[in-house]
């Protein structure tokens, strides 16, 4: 079994995970408490970015270089390439969903004339 990446990090390295946790909690809090659809959309984007930050952090190795064999220069320590691929995919997905959500918000504003989430509730019961 490979040793986990988190164990290799010093205590300062773990501080960045605390930032991720704070960002996730902030985003979730904003989604629940804010009433404006655009602010909720921004909070979702923050949530996506914080998860991407988490993925990037997982691939970090102290002193590592880029994971391309003929460009890494001296030294044979490279950062992990997999999380970077995961992050790129996740960024594209987040872009698509943000764009779709904004277009839905435009349509909602056209139909309901408001962006207040408390007033967009024809479907209930």
């Amino acid at each position: 079994m490979t040793a986990s990446i988190a164990e290799k990090m010093d205590w300062l390295g773990n501080a960045s995970y605390v930032v991720v946790a704070l960002l996730v909690i902030m985003a979730l809090y904003t989604i629940i408490t804010q009433k404006n659809l655009l602010k909720i959309c921004v909070a979702l984007a923050v949530l996506g970015s914080s998860v991407n930050l988490f993925l990037v952090l997982l691939g970090y190795r102290d002193g590592g270089s880029i994971p391309i064999y003929h460009m890494k220069g001296a030294g044979d320590l490279m950062v992990l390439p997999t999380p970077q691929c995961l992050t790129l995919t996740a960024i594209v997905i987040a872009l698509a969903t943000t764009a779709l959500m904004l277009s839905l918000i435009i349509l909602i504003h056209k139909h309901y004339g408001t962006l207040d989430i408390d007033e967009i509730r024809r479907l209930r019961g």
């Binding site: 629940i32 408490t33 909720i40 989430i117 408390d118 967009i120 509730r121 024809r122 209930r124 019961g125």
Partner: protein, 112 residues
């Protein structure tokens, strides 16, 4: 057998069930055939009885709407339905809140 199913506790065979269904239907039809056949066709004995009133032309005037079904059940369970309707209030931030609370409680429960 293709239709025989052994569930580990008992057996189920759809064709045995269908066989008994046919027997019972035959019996029911026999009971029905014992009824009176001597009523006069196409007289007022054939008409729909609607509390002695004239039957309206349009069926919409004397059909029972779906919302009236199980009225008693709904009234008897009214406190529960008030609660459930408050739960399904259509507010998306409440729905997101239910989701996050459930995720959090599942996350705490799995740590036990």
């Amino acid at each position: 057998m293709w239709s025989q199913l052994d569930t580990g506790f008992g057996h189920w065979n759809v064709f045995v069930w269908l066989f008994f269904f046919v027997i019972i239907s035959a019996f029911a039809l026999w009971v029905r055939s014992l009824g009176r056949m001597d009523y006069k066709r196409s007289t007022e004995q054939d008409e729909i009885f609607w509390s002695g009133n004239e039957v309206p032309e349009d069926g919409a005037d004397f059909s029972v709407p779906a919302s009236s079904s199980y009225w008693g059940f709904r009234v008897a369970m009214e406190p529960l339905y008030n609660l459930l309707n408050r739960f399904h209030n259509g507010n998306a931030s409440d729905y997101a809140g239910y989701f996050i609370v459930t995720v959090a409680s599942i996350g705490v429960l799995v740590l036990i």
